[in-house]
């Protein structure tokens, strides 16, 4: 714009269809705006974000009618970028722009039209005052590291890793457990097609293990994360396996020779045992055993050491210690999955009191041919159940535990009903609140189960008891529930009850969330950037989420998200470099008194004290634009682009001047 003369501000008020115009009297606001100092033009339009809407702005700029822009519309997080772009298209610097949020903060939350209009006016006034002080800025270009990190080796993480690797990117896949595979590796069949989980998962796991572009860091956890989009620095703790990975060829002799074979297997949910030296399951990737230090006699009294004696390659290393590896990556996909609900929290279901009340995960292991019972569905005494109850919504849709619907339970409960019926011929009773089969081919599966003669009782299981009321109930578990469609209370004696437990956020979700600077939604799952339009992005650029860590999900949805998140990470990486918001701090050296207040405040070490010149030195490359130092600087030497003291003060004046 010309050096001399006033700013010429254009104010554009959006109707957003009826979203804004219904409450806010737009013409009134426009008239008000045009009366404000320096406002050259005030216009209104149905949808400012539409092409014609943007065109209005661009034209006014090209015609030289305005040189700064204010748009009053939805939240800036929605369309600030859009209108900055329009401003740029019109030939002005994109940062001579100010956004006023009169939808989320006004029309959608204010009942009274007049009050809404007044509030909109004062926000517009503030934006006008602030844009008058806006300065042209250049965006900073930063290179993007072309490595990617995937956290979590479940099906979502596996998919993400493969997509990235197949595109030629180097991927680090970090998994907490000794092997990748996640929960899916425990499952038997998958709904609705009933193909076996292992058959479709293990090939993927092998691909991952063999892929030249994927480095699997199993039995490892992320310690901490620093840096920013395109340039993350991640420290990973590689927990000691007490196995020399370079020497071990996974022959499994150590496992065979380990004399202590009675440790409850985590992978089998404690239904079976494993040795102290073990692989969680035969198809483990990487194919490396782990020594369970806690239970190993050698670590207790130096005796035994059988594994070491027999290992043909001398790969056992009792001296091994945790290692820290440092990774530099441009993008991160978080796929840390879920934790199954602890069924013992519902006392009336008797989980823990009744041996034949089991959880869905336990059932998956039992039904799995490679599982503790070799795929036989049996009770604790080894006999085959004649009647089996399946309780839906255990720990979900319940304000005492989790109020959300866990989305997958209905379908896997139907799958269980089929497996039980198929393998034992038992009568199966499904107790449900609402049958939710929304998914391709899911409803058909429900109908198939009804045709198979599964009993469906619409009513939540109220209680599972072993106290009989009639002779037929003697020696059985009894499920008590109201059959709400009939309107009577029923008591149904069964031999076994399967509790369809909810998916919960991982126990350490909060720590993970904080390490990566993510937010979480009310239910504790990681928060996506937008529930519809950006389900796998997060509010932190360069950090993406996939699978059940974002919310309960079945396998197809987790796979889709894994691939989607990977694609987003890929497009970020492949852009090679990216523009950062130019909201960094800047220093006016003459004003700096050298008090050093700011130096200690900066979390990114962007500020250092220059001993010769007795002033601070600011490294803008390291600055992330929080503005903490600016607020603290007593002499006003430090300011923040886009958020200078004067600009903010001007905005304050604005909102107050027009109450």
């Amino acid at each position: 714009m010309e050096r001399n003369g006033h700013p010429k501000i254009g104010v554009y008020v959006c109707h957003c269809g009826v979203n804004i115009a219904d409450k806010v009297n737009v013409p009134d606001v426009v008239e008000f705006a045009s009366s404000l100092p320096y406002v050259a033009i005030a216009r209104e339009y149905q949808f400012m974000c539409s092409d014609p809407g943007q065109e209005i702005i661009e034209q006014d700029l090209r015609d030289g009618l305005v040189d700064r822009v204010v748009v009053a519309a939805c939240s800036p997080l929605m369309h600030e970028g859009t209108f900055r772009h329009a401003t740029e298209e019109g030939g002005a610097n994109p940062f001579l722009y100010q956004h006023a949020n009169i939808r989320e903060h006004v029309s959608w939350v204010t009942a009274d039209g007049e009050l809404a209009t007044d509030k909109a006016k004062s926000l517009v006034a503030a934006a006008v005052r602030r844009v008058a002080l806006a300065e042209p800025l250049e965006r900073k270009q930063v290179p993007i590291d072309d490595h990617a990190l995937v956290v979590g080796g479940g099906i979502a993480g596996i998919e993400a890793a493969l997509v990235l690797a197949n595109a030629g990117r180097k991927v680090y896949l970090v998994e907490r457990e000794p092997s990748i595979g996640g929960h899916m590796a425990m499952f038997d069949k998958t709904f609705p097609t009933l193909d076996c989980a292992a058959c479709i998962l293990t090939p993927k796991m092998v691909q991952v293990g063999q892929h030249p572009n994927i480095e699997v860091l199993a039995y490892s956890e992320v310690e901490d994360v620093s840096g920013y989009v395109g340039n993350f620095e991640v420290r990973v703790r590689r927990k000691a396996r007490y196995i020399n990975e370079d020497l071990c060829n996974g022959c499994g002799l150590c496992i065979e020779k380990c004399p202590w074979k009675n440790i409850p297997s985590e992978f089998d949910q404690g239904l079976g045992n494993r040795p102290v030296v073990y692989m969680p399951f035969p198809q483990a990737v990487p194919r490396l055993p782990v020594i369970d230090r806690e239970h190993c006699v050698y670590f207790q009294n130096g005796k035994c050491g059988a594994c070491k004696k027999f290992c043909p390659r001398d790969a056992i290393d009792f001296e091994q210690e945790d290692k820290i590896v440092e990774l530099k990556v441009g993008a991160v996909v978080i796929a840390t999955g879920f934790k199954p609900f602890d069924a013992s929290r519902i006392p009336l279901y008797g989980y823990g009191r009744f041996p034949n009340v089991i959880t869905s995960v336990e059932f998956e292991r039992m039904a799995n041919a490679a599982g503790p019972t070799g795929g036989k569905i049996v009770m604790k005494d080894g006999s085959v159940p004649k009647r089996v109850g399946i309780a839906h919504c255990v720990g979900s849709r319940n304000q005492n535990y989790n109020s959300y619907c866990s989305t997958v339970c209905c379908m896997y409960s139907l799958k269980f009903a089929h497996l039980v019926h198929e393998r034992t011929g038992a009568e199966v009773y499904n107790f449900y609140i609402d049958m939710r089969t929304a998914g391709k081919g899911y409803e058909d599966f429900y109908h198939r189960l009804m045709a198979e003669g599964t009993h469906f009782v619409r009513g939540r299981v109220a209680e599972i008891t072993d106290v009989p009321q009639v002779p037929e109930e003697d020696g059985h578990l009894v499920i008590q529930a109201e059959d709400t469609l009939i309107g009577v209370v029923r008591r149904i004696p069964v031999d076994m009850v399967i509790l369809s437990i909810a998916m919960e956020p991982q126990a350490d979700a909060t720590e993970v969330r904080r390490k990566f600077g993510m937010s979480c939604s009310g239910d504790g799952f990681f928060l996506e950037k937008h529930p519809k339009l950006a389900p796998t992005a997060t509010l932190t650029d360069g950090i993406f989420i996939a699978g059940a860590c974002q919310g309960p999900k079945d396998i197809p949805a987790s796979v889709a998200q894994g691939q989607g998140a990977a694609a987003q990470a890929l497009s970020l990486i492949d852009s090679g470099s990216m523009e950062l918001e130019p909201n960094t701090a800047f220093l006016t050296e003459e004003l700096c008194s050298g008090c050093r207040t700011c130096v200690g405040l900066c979390p990114y070490n962007a500020l250092a004290f220059d001993e010769e010149r007795k002033v601070v030195a600011l490294n803008e490359a390291l600055c992330k634009g929080c503005g903490v130092c600016v607020a603290a600087c007593p002499s006003g030497a430090l300011q923040q682009h886009l958020y200078t003291d004067e600009q903010i003060l001007e905005e304050i004046r604005g909102v107050l001047a027009y109450g």
């Binding site: 009336l348 849709r397 109220a462 709400t484």
Partner: protein, 196 residues
């Protein structure tokens, strides 16, 4: 236009229900949760007397929401509730079902809809008189009065038990009283006055 005779009582027409009944119940402290109900039936399932109710608790709550005021207030369900709180502490929707039952009992009485010679409301009113007179309740007196007002023959049936209790000194015939029952009554009056 009236419903054809053969449909009388088989179809519920909108003009037969009380649309604002739900709001009325929800406005009572304890009733606020009813709109959260999932109709899962947990309340009925854990209730030890549900099998004897004319409507299960779950069904009753839905009838409240649907505005079936007469049916609800005349039902015996609320009077059978022993107040054991099994439903309330189990409700996935966090509804204070027991409090809802109390609320419905009060509404039934206020609307004179409670079943007349049904022993439970009778017990309630006798209990109140009892407390109003002495500030305490006297079990023996209560039992006798309730029997007299509902089914005097029961007194004969109960006689042996009564004797047993007398002999074991577990029946206090006269009953005791607080120092100043009148003062207590005045306080109670002023309390419900303040609420109006």
């Amino acid at each position: 236009m009236k419903a054809p005779p053969f449909l009388q009582g088989r179809i519920t027409y909108e003009n037969q229900i009380t649309p604002d009944f739900a709001a009325e119940v929800a406005a009572i402290p304890g009733g606020e949760g009813i709109f959260e109900c999932l109709q899962c039936g947990t309340c009925s399932g854990v209730c030890s007397v549900a099998p004897y109710m004319d409507y299960t608790p779950r069904r009753l709550i839905n009838m409240v929401r649907a505005g079936f005021k007469d049916e609800v207030l005349h039902s015996r369900t609320v009077w059978l509730c022993t107040g054991c709180y099994a439903c309330a502490v189990n409700c996935p929707a966090g509804i204070h079902i027991t409090d809802v039952m109390y609320a419905l009992k009060r509404l039934a009485i206020r609307n004179g809809a409670h079943p007349r010679r049904y022993p439970i409301p009778v017990l309630v009113s006798e209990f109140i008189n009892n407390v109003r007179q002495t500030g305490r309740s006297n079990e023996a007196k209560l039992v006798v009065r309730v029997a007299l007002r509902t089914n005097p023959l029961r007194l004969l049936k109960a006689a042996p038990l009564g004797l047993k209790m007398l002999r074991s000194g577990r029946m206090h015939v006269r009953g005791t009283r607080i120092e100043d029952p009148q003062r207590l009554n005045r306080m109670l009056e002023s309390v419900s006055e303040a609420r109006k």
